[in-house]
Amino acid sequence: MRKFLKHAWTACAAGAVASGLALSGGAAQAANAPSVLTIGTLYASSGPFAVASKGQFEGLQYWADTVNKDGGTYVKAFKKKIPVKIIAYDDQSSTATATTLYNQLITQDQVNILIADFGSVLTSVGIPLAAEHKMLLIDPTGSGANFFTKKTDYLADVSIPSSTVWPLTLGHFLLGQKIQRIAIIYDSNDFDASQAETLKATLEKGGVKPVYYHGVPTSESNYTVLLHTIAAQNPDAVIEFGYAPNDIAFLRNLSSSGLHFKMTFTIFPGQLLDLMTKNVGAKALAYTYTYPTPPLVQTQKVTYGPNTAAFVEQFKAAKNAEPNFLDVAGYNTGLVVQDMLETAPAFTQLSFHQALMDMSGKTTTLLGDFKINENGAQLGELFSVGQLVPSGNGNKMVVVYPKEKATGTAVYPAPAQ
């Protein structure tokens, strides 16, 4: 046993030395151009955020691979191309670990560019640290409303708008369809509850009061009795805001319950269609509504980078897999950084931030319009409303609202399966 301990010690020491060596690499960013541009980020290989976080990370990595194939990304401040290197740590979905790892990236690796992990929870702890060290935190998907309450130079949400504004279009669609009886069930977490609140407010402004409006715990996994309770209110439309596991349980329970509503809306079929189809089945997804996200909706005209269709082709060729929304979001983050470096006149965090502000409103990428405000919130592309319509063995996404983006009209009421 003493031997065992000795091993533990050795492992410990070896680990410390190894990390020490790794750390000394990224130091010293001087007036001279660095030989490699370090981009620090975190991902979660396990825990509740693993699925989403790994998707986003893969997208970012794919971006780095692509630019490095071209000899790197052009940096205006040095007037030349510099290869990028991603330094990434695994936070296991733990905020405590994420805190130390953000600090690791900032203080030990001294990365040039800092990119947050997926989602609000894992982004939150990086915000004060970045500000403290005067680093610009590039935030792909952390959209907590709490984050963007005052002017800052050190935070920029680049890939998705705050979840608070996601359901605006959905609300207008429901009002436009003159659907009066609407049930809203949501998980009690920042992401879902803020959407429920916005939708309720939007509907009430249009004179519609939801007939059912309740939060359930984020851990909720069985909706059978809840669905029955909802059905008792005779709603025409049932809107469920949850994370992917909730949406899976909800849709499965709905299809096996024998209940049927004229309209059913969930979030994740629009982001992780493969995962949802695999778990829920194409039949149960047919005619349900969602927020369609790239690559399920395509941005044709872009001002920077490939358009959505071109990206999907490239990604499929390189990775032999269909990209999902999070891959796109991660890749888009890389693109925004790339554009930022091409336009920032100086190699400083403030200059980076100014570049992002200058890009705002004038840039369109495969993810849509890029527009941030001085608090760092993303105001660009609003999500539209899509419906999954049977096609072959699966479903295809039809954007049904708003009109200018629509690729078809809603099948309402949804036919019973």
Binding site: M1, A22, S46, S94, N103, Q104, T107, L129, A131
Partner: protein, 309 residues
Amino acid sequence: MRNATGGTRYAVAVLATLAVAFVALPQVYGNQSVLFTMMTYMALAQGLNLVYGFTGYLPFGYVGFFGTGAYACSILVTFTGLPVLLCVIGGGLAALLIGLILGPLLRLSGAYFSIANLAASQIIYYVVSNEALKPLTGGPYGIKIDQVFAPTASYAAMLVVLLLTTALAAYFRLSRFGLGLRAMHQNPISAAVAGVNIVRARLVVWLVSATVAGLIGGVYAWNLSVFYPDAVFTLEISVFAIVFALFGGVGTVIGPLLGAGLLYTFYAAIGVSTPQYFQLLYGSLIVFLVLFLPNGLVSLLVRRKLHVL
């Protein structure tokens, strides 16, 4: 008790070493968050040791006090504008109050106590994070007190809390009160027959341990300054505190400190080098520890007849 003065000297040395180490380390190692988190876990392991090591009650829901402290402190900062240190103390008092409410749990034995305590911590978590409490706690939206964000000051505060907790452990180990605790831990009925007020002693230890966790939580919230309920109520915090304390050796002063210090270093090192195997390595390590070193690292020293505080 013959070693009381020697013991006291030993305790002072431990406290001084801790203080010097955590004042000096930031000069040579720049990732203050790692050091801060290490102190947090050292303090938590020590705080848990107060109750588990000295009474045998394993508080699986220890994180409940930590989270209570974090939220009470943040709420005070948000609504009262008191100096942040007072808010941290408020966090400790809130945890003390919760400890008092949960006092009747001490009537339960072994596993029942642990699990009932776990249930209590989950209840606090669910109540704090419920949407109905949004105006007060921020509910699921989390809470933000970045107006008081001060990494260096909160680092110093955590060091003070760590020293306080360790001093308490030394008191439990060396004092007359501690003699009664040891007797009670080994045989509660004989201890009572010997005149030890076991009900009161247990409650005192429980409340002290709860208060300490509340203080740690308060300082932790101050350091984080933007967080969601999961960040301060995740069960992982209890589990780490238990594993760290056990690894070092409970019922001693230096055991939990050694355990948390070494194991957290190990954690941080594999987290950086081979994260994909992290959970596997960690789980296996725990299995090996329990099977081959159940009384912790300090038992190796004791076996060599070294005096351990």
